[in-house]
Symmetry: C2
Subunit: 196 residues, 2 copies
């Protein structure tokens, strides 16, 4: 049996991509609660068994469908560095707020977050695999600011990032206010005042 | 038929209380995902039909089970006011962090939050019914501080509260760090620096 023949590998890779794409599309269309393995299989043009062979649960497919997005970006993440920390953070936060205000973008991430809130091990895996490289990129920008004397030498960068992002995450998850430029700017200004 | 006889009303009230208590207990024991109407009925000593007569879904029972907790506290919520805003906020934040670090307390609220994240209408209802009185109590304390000259006259109190609480909510929901006194104090100090 030529299990690992090039054709077979290529077909598998195509199926895998189709499944992950279908998962993200369907979450955006019907929401996580109504997402079914049947619907993913139908949309991806594969059998249900193909999905169950690779993933143990709906949550696992959703997780990988998000992970695949970040693999597409490929290579190192970097924040803008014009030398003006406030301006650079506003650029990033405005873009993030706009993404989370976009239903097609936010729906799969919302579904993933519900999985993460329910499942401590998945949350740990997520932090390790997906969040850490992004957090490191953010910290590199903050360290550059520290070296330029724009942040105190003893600034707790993890706490800084929690302050900067948590209000945005909360507004988004609970839909408790607008995710606009004014909010993004207010978060940056308040965080920079909090960590002078 | 004496549908509304005092005995019948009393029995209904007893069943309702038993169902809501069973719901909170079971969420803490087995988690939201594994919570079933069957198990709630068995624990409460009522028939499944009794539950379905009053609630349309598991999420609705969970919501009411949390709402019932705040009805028990009864009367107006108030924050401590010793005249020292930082000290008072630390008292409150430390207590909140300790509550969310307690599995028996946090499990039903975690389950509720997953419902709120999934369901915008429930989130709005929650804000109106449960969160608003608490938010108002917090704002009264902040207004007193403003009048005492401890906060600027133009402080955005909603944004102040988002900054103060969102990092705690995020750490709790994603289990991304310790919920201890040091964290509570750091949140208060940073928020007061951000809103001088």
């Amino acid at each position: 049996m030529a299990v690992n023949s090039p054709d077979r590998t290529r077909r598998s890779e195509r199926s895998r991509t189709a499944i992950l794409t279908a998962t993200r599309e369907l979450i955006a269309e019907v929401g996580y609660a109504k997402l079914t393995i049947e619907a993913i299989a139908a949309r991806a043009g594969v059998g249900k068994q193909t999905i169950y062979r690779w993933w143990s649960s709906k949550g696992a497919v959703v997780f990988d469908s998000i992970l695949a997005l970040s693999e597409q970006t490929d290579g190192e993440v970097a924040l803008p560095d014009t030398g003006d920390l406030a301006a650079d953070l506003k650029t990033v936060l405005r873009a993030t707020a706009a993404e989370f205000a976009d239903p097609a973008f936010e729906a799969p991430i919302r579904a993933l977050n519900m999985e993460l809130i329910a499942d401590p091990e998945l949350a740990e895996l997520y932090r390790e695999k997906l969040e850490k490289p992004v957090t490191e990129a953010k910290k590199r920008r903050l360290r550059a600011a520290r070296e330029a004397g724009q942040l105190a030498a003893d600034t707790d960068l993890d706490l800084f990032l929690e302050f900067l992002y948590a209000p945005l995450t909360q507004r988004w998850l609970l839909r408790s206010g607008p995710l606009d430029d004014a909010f993004a700017d207010a978060l940056v200004d308040a965080t920079l005042r909090a960590f002078p």
